[in-house]
């Protein structure tokens, strides 16, 4: 593994040296950045746009790619889902980009999928998501449920002794599907129906008193209660405040959040949150040389010492590096050769390991559990070996029999019972 890596590095360096002089001469290679710069998702997505721009700058400083400079085409889909499809079409047909880095919410991804598949584009999607999808034209660099939700629940059951579960989520597809998977998984582990409480709230919900009271009341049958939170964004503030006001500490009822990271905690009063948990594949506090270097470069690039890094940023970095490696391997930026080349590509991640692109277009990722500290960072209390991402969860009967294998079977939705491809295009 190491030899392959160092060979690759050597190759890159050699190419950079050889082509350095003419790097800026060739026709630029265009990549699209499809992140919302305005609207509700802007706060999260703008960071990822900046990350891509930083990676492009670094790559150009290294002499570009295949001897040509990289050029980022930034568009703003403005948190408007139909606009994502429109802008994706524009990027692929008007700007003619070779790869797109973008999307955050599942619905935005579902919006661009048909366009990307129709025009045979290449999308790198950097956010943890609900799984149940594998497209020929998408590389999922965020976590699938088995790389975040399942290990997190295992941790709660084993390390915190949680026996009774409150699955609280914002009412949209990621919490819904994640909770469905968790529900099936917990029942499979012998948790009774009555020991799982599910609640969905609207986006930006603020009146949490009743729900917190419900959660506290779950403790009435003497079992340790744990909350698995897929509550999105700002609504978390009110939730944690109410929890603290009710006198519930992380020792009484631990909350495991899947959508609360450094960026969300930055600028918040974290006193109420200390000791609660989050599960990601990366924390800024991860101890590795690559991470230290990345944080330093990021702060320099953005010109702000207080800016934090987070999991989707790491996923973006991995995606970018994987694409660069695949393009170099394929010797071209055409989508099909790059897709052939990218499977099996190994790039270092920021937590000290490597991420491998799997045949189902997901990655291997370690699962990290962190406890929230006063300063808005996380104490990493658990870290697993890299887990291969599973596009179709094994815990729902309908998708357990499905498999995705692009180089092998040329299919993202392969029914292993009937040995046939259900559909080549994605399920959107």
């Amino acid at each position: 593994m190491m030899t392959k890596l160092s060979a690759m590095l050597a190759l890159t360096t050699a190419m950079a040296l050889a082509t350095g002089a003419m790097a800026q001469e060739g026709e630029p290679i265009k990549i699209g950045v499809l992140h919302s710069l305005s609207g509700t998702m802007a706060i999260s997505e703008t960071t990822l746009k900046d990350t891509v721009l930083m990676m492009v700058e670094q790559q150009n400083a290294k002499g570009g790619l295949l001897g040509r400079p990289l050029e980022a085409v930034v568009v703003d889909p403005a948190s408007d889902w139909p606009l994502f499809a429109e802008k994706a079409r524009e990027l692929l047909t008007v700007s003619e980009v070779d790869a797109i880095f973008g999307c955050w919410t599942s619905v935005s991804r579902k919006s661009v999928l048909p366009v990307i598949e129709e025009l045979n584009g290449l999308l790198f999607y950097p956010v943890q998501y609900e799984g149940e999808e594998s497209s020929k034209n998408v590389i999922y660099t965020g976590a699938a449920p088995n790389q975040q939700a399942i290990p997190a629940v295992d941790y709660m059951a084993e390390e915190l002794g949680v026996e009774k579960w409150a699955l609280l989520g914002t009412d949209y597809v990621y919490p819904r599907t994640t909770n469905n998977i968790l529900d099936a998984y917990l029942k499979g582990k012998g948790v009774a129906e009555g020991d799982i409480f599910v609640n969905y709230t609207p986006f930006g919900h603020s009146d949490w008193s009743k729900i917190v009271a419900d959660v506290v009341a779950l403790g009435a049958d003497g079992k340790k209660v744990g909350v698995v939170s897929t509550i999105n964004g700002d609504a978390n503030v009110g939730f944690y405040k109410e929890l603290a006001a009710a006198g519930v500490s992380a020792d009484d009822i631990p909350v495991m959040a899947f959508s609360v990271g450094e960026e969300e905690l930055a600028g918040l009063d974290t006193a109420n949150l200390v000791g609660h948990l989050a599960a990601w594949n990366y924390f800024q506090t991860a101890e590795s040389d690559a991470n230290t270097a990345f944080i330093e470069e990021w702060k320099k690039f953005i010109g702000d010492e207080d800016r934090v890094t987070n999991d989707p940023m790491e996923a973006t970095v991995i995606g970018f590096n994987a694409w660069v490696a695949a393009v170099e391997k394929a010797g071209t930026t055409d989508v099909d050769p790059v897709l052939d080349a990218i499977v099996g590509v190994e790039v270092p991640n920021l937590t000290g390991g490597t991420a491998t692109v799997l045949p189902n277009h997901h990655l291997t990722k370690p699962v990290l559990i962190g406890e929230i500290r006063e300063d808005g960072q996380f104490d990493i209390v658990s870290q697993t070996e890299p887990v291969p991402g599973d596009a179709w969860t094994d815990f729902l009967p309908e998708s357990a029999k499905l498999d995705a294998d692009w180089p092998g079977k040329d299919c993202g939705m392969f029914n292993t019972e009937t040995n046939s491809c259900v559909q080549v295009q994605s399920n959107y």
Binding site: T40, A42, I43, Y155, E158, E159, L160, G161, D171, F197, V198, N199, Y200, T201, P202, G204, H205, S206, D207, S209, K210, I211, A213, D214, V216, A217, G219, A220, D221, G222, K223, G233, D234, A235, V237, G238, K241, E242, A244, A245, A246, G247, A250, D251, D252, P254, E264, A266, G267, L268, D269, A271, G275, I369, E371, D379, I380, V381, S382
Partner: protein, 637 residues
């Protein structure tokens, strides 16, 4: 094997009178990996071994639990406190050490704390005794029961009561003598505390079994097939899971069986092409059964026979029937009180929500009542107030003081904004309410985007002072966070203030006059324009205060106003315009109803909101002028 040697060498090198603890050293050396990467499930024996090594061991455990323990490259454990490191074994300071800090997870910390607790119960420090009791209450064991019973009597009355309670609860769970358990249960019967119910409910947990005859077990009751809580399907499912009954054929199994038996393009004589019909599939399967190719599936007759041959019981996991009887009696006694208290708690929640809606809507009601214009930017005034609170808090660190500054400042800022909006826009659109609505909507989107440009799209913290944190708790069921009580008081205060202004001041008199008949009021020397401006400012100012209040318990974002504006409209419209009592009634109705719907459908808060709005739409059909309609000439305008 090398590590103890090195440790020994290091200890020798220090060449000081070393109060070493060889037993601890040995335990550490053997279990270094377990200490570095502990797991809640396996750490307990290790913790007891360390605890058994004496005071240094306890010291180490407490440092470990407090995340003050580090491990050096050569495998020594250092206790790091305030920047100085001391060797955990020798107690010697280790200057210039750079240990890797250990971060045990909270499950492991709980195990360590529970091991330390026995000693802490007798601690001279009351705070530590209280913490120990809390820790036992959270995660008690049979040993703790022993420790509690043998510990010296508690002198502090509050702690003594708490210790009594914890001891009783542990007795219910762990006492080997059933009589003592029954006594403990009866002693607490009627209590609605969560901890008591948490002790009772596991005793009353039941499992269902099917057996040919009455089993030797603590039977809760016998079930009759066909009852509401035990339909025939449940009996069949139970028998199937017990293995007494063959599972019935699912369509998928049937299809697979058929597919496995295709002979010459036909199954059981029926062509495959015809099998797209369930009846044909059934016939084919029956043919296969008749031929003996597939094993017959359970039939209805078999199921009936099995049900007839069995009796169905619910049995307690707890073997002693005296204990379960006492527990059941205690639970029954608690149930009625519990229901009543849940009702009261729901009522408190509803009251709190109503007071929030009231605060948010009161400003709107004033402007709507006097000028008949809907101010779509009202929500943005709420937001402005919340951001004022945030801005003040970034400048003044003392939270009580900053709140004291923020409330009047928010009023002043939004009062100013309201007056400005009136002078610049609304005054010029007099008697054109729909256009006012749209113009103020333009102001609303501009203000919202402006807030995004200034403060960013991320939620900003607005933290309540410490004396407003926490909750007012009557018991484990009835509790309400202090901040909500404060908002309720604030709402009452504004109700009083509003009534005072309206009934007792010159301004109020003039406002009432303009509301009733602007023309006549103008003829009497009142300047309607000035009055409208003042009321608009007043309404906006109250919105600003509401913003601070809402920001304290929720989040401050640029969309804060949006979330409350629709509810505020509803409150005003449902209540009826023109009177403060109408707004109050509207807020009460909407708050109460929201909570009742939420109570009936706890899994889906969104559904509660949907039904709420539907209810309002229908309500308006029957009382188009609201709960308390305005009467007299003003109503005709």
């Amino acid at each position: 094997m090398i590590r103890p040697l090195i440790a020994l060498l290091v200890a020798l090198c220090l060449a000081a009178p070393v109060a070493a603890n060889p037993a601890l050293e040995a335990v550490i050396a053997d279990n270094l990996e377990g200490i570095e990467k502990p797991s809640r499930r396996t750490v307990e024996p290790l913790v007891s071994r360390i605890a058994a090594t004496g005071p240094e061991g306890l010291e180490l455990l407490s440092a470990w639990a407090n995340r003050a323990l580090g491990v050096t490259e050569d495998g020594r454990l250092l206790i790091v406190e305030g920047g100085t490191a001391t060797d955990a074994v020798t107690g010697q300071p280790v200057p210039g050490a750079d240990p890797k800090m250990l971060r045990p997870n909270s499950g492991v910390r709980g195990v360590i704390e529970s091991a330390l607790v026995a000693g802490e119960i007798a601690s001279p420090d009351p705070a530590r005794r209280a913490a120990a009791l809390a820790s036992i209450a959270r995660d008690g064991t049979a040993e703790h029961l022993e420790a509690l019973r043998t510990a010296a009597p508690e002198q502090e009355p509050a702690l003594a009561a708490q210790r009594m309670r914890v001891t009783n609860l542990l007795a219910i769970r762990f006492d080997p003598d059933p009589a003592a358990r029954v006594a403990a249960i009866e002693g607490m019967a009627g209590d609605v505390g969560l901890d008591f119910r948490a002790a009772l409910n596991p005793l009353l947990a039941t499992t269902r079994i099917a057996a040919p005859a009455e089993p030797q077990a603590n039977i809760a009751r016998e079930l009759t097939v066909g009852d509401d809580d035990f339909p025939r399907e449940a009996a069949i499912a139970l028998l199937t899971t017990q293995g007494t009954l063959q599972p019935r054929l699912t369509p998928a199994d049937q299809r697979n069986a058929l597919a496995a038996n295709i002979v010459d393009g036909a199954v059981g004589g029926i062509p495959v092409a015809d099998l797209s019909d369930q009846a044909a599939r059934d016939r084919a399967y029956e043919a296969l059964e008749a031929a003996g190719t597939v094993s017959p599936a359970a039939t209805e007759a078999e199921a009936d026979a099995a049900i007839k041959a069995h009796r169905f019981f619910e049995t307690y996991a707890e073997p002693n029937s005296d204990v379960t009887d006492a527990a059941r009696a205690a639970q029954t006694r608690a149930q009625v009180r519990l229901a009543a208290m849940t009702g009261i708690d729901l009522g408190l929640d509803a009251l709190s929500l109503a007071s929030i809606y009231f605060l948010a809507a009161i400003g709107l009601a004033i402007t709507f009542g006097v000028m008949r214009v809907i101010n779509m930017a009202h929500g943005e005034f709420i937001m402005m107030g919340a951001y004022t609170g945030y801005a003040v808090q970034t400048m003044i660190a003392n939270r009580t003081l900053s709140l004291a500054v923020a409330l009047p400042l928010a009023f002043a800022v939004t009062f100013g904004a309201g007056v400005l909006l009136y002078r610049l826009v609304i005054r010029h659109l007099a008697n054109r309410p729909l256009e006012t609505l749209l113009a103020t909507f333009g102001v609303s989107i501009a203000l919202q985007q402006l807030a995004k440009n200034i403060f960013g799209t991320q939620a900003r913290p607005l933290t309540a002072p410490a004396w407003l944190e926490g909750a007012i708790t009557v018991n484990d069921v009835i509790s309400i966070s202090s901040i909500r009580v404060a908002i309720f008081v604030l709402a009452l205060l504004f109700l009083g203030l509003f009534l005072f202004i309206m009934k007792r001041t010159r301004l109020g008199l003039e406002v009432r006059a303009v509301t009733q008949n602007p023309g006549m009021a103008a003829s009497m020397g009142i300047n309607p324009d000035r009055i409208a401006m003042m009321t608009f400012g007043l309404g906006s100012g109250i919105a600003g205060i509401a913003g601070v209040a809402i920001g304290l318990f929720a989040q401050v974002t640029s969309e804060l106003g949006q979330q409350y504006i629709v509810q505020s409209f509803m409150t005003v419209v449902v209540g009826g315009v023109g009177t403060i009592w109408g707004t109050l009634a509207g807020a009460g109705l909407i708050g109460g109803l929201s909570k009742v719907i939420e109570f009936m459908n706890p899994a889906n808060t969104l559904a509660a909101q949907t039904f709420m709005i539907l209810f309002i739409i229908i309500f308006i059909q029957f009382r188009p002028r609201g709960i308390i309609p305005q009467r007299g000439r003003a109503a005709e305008a």
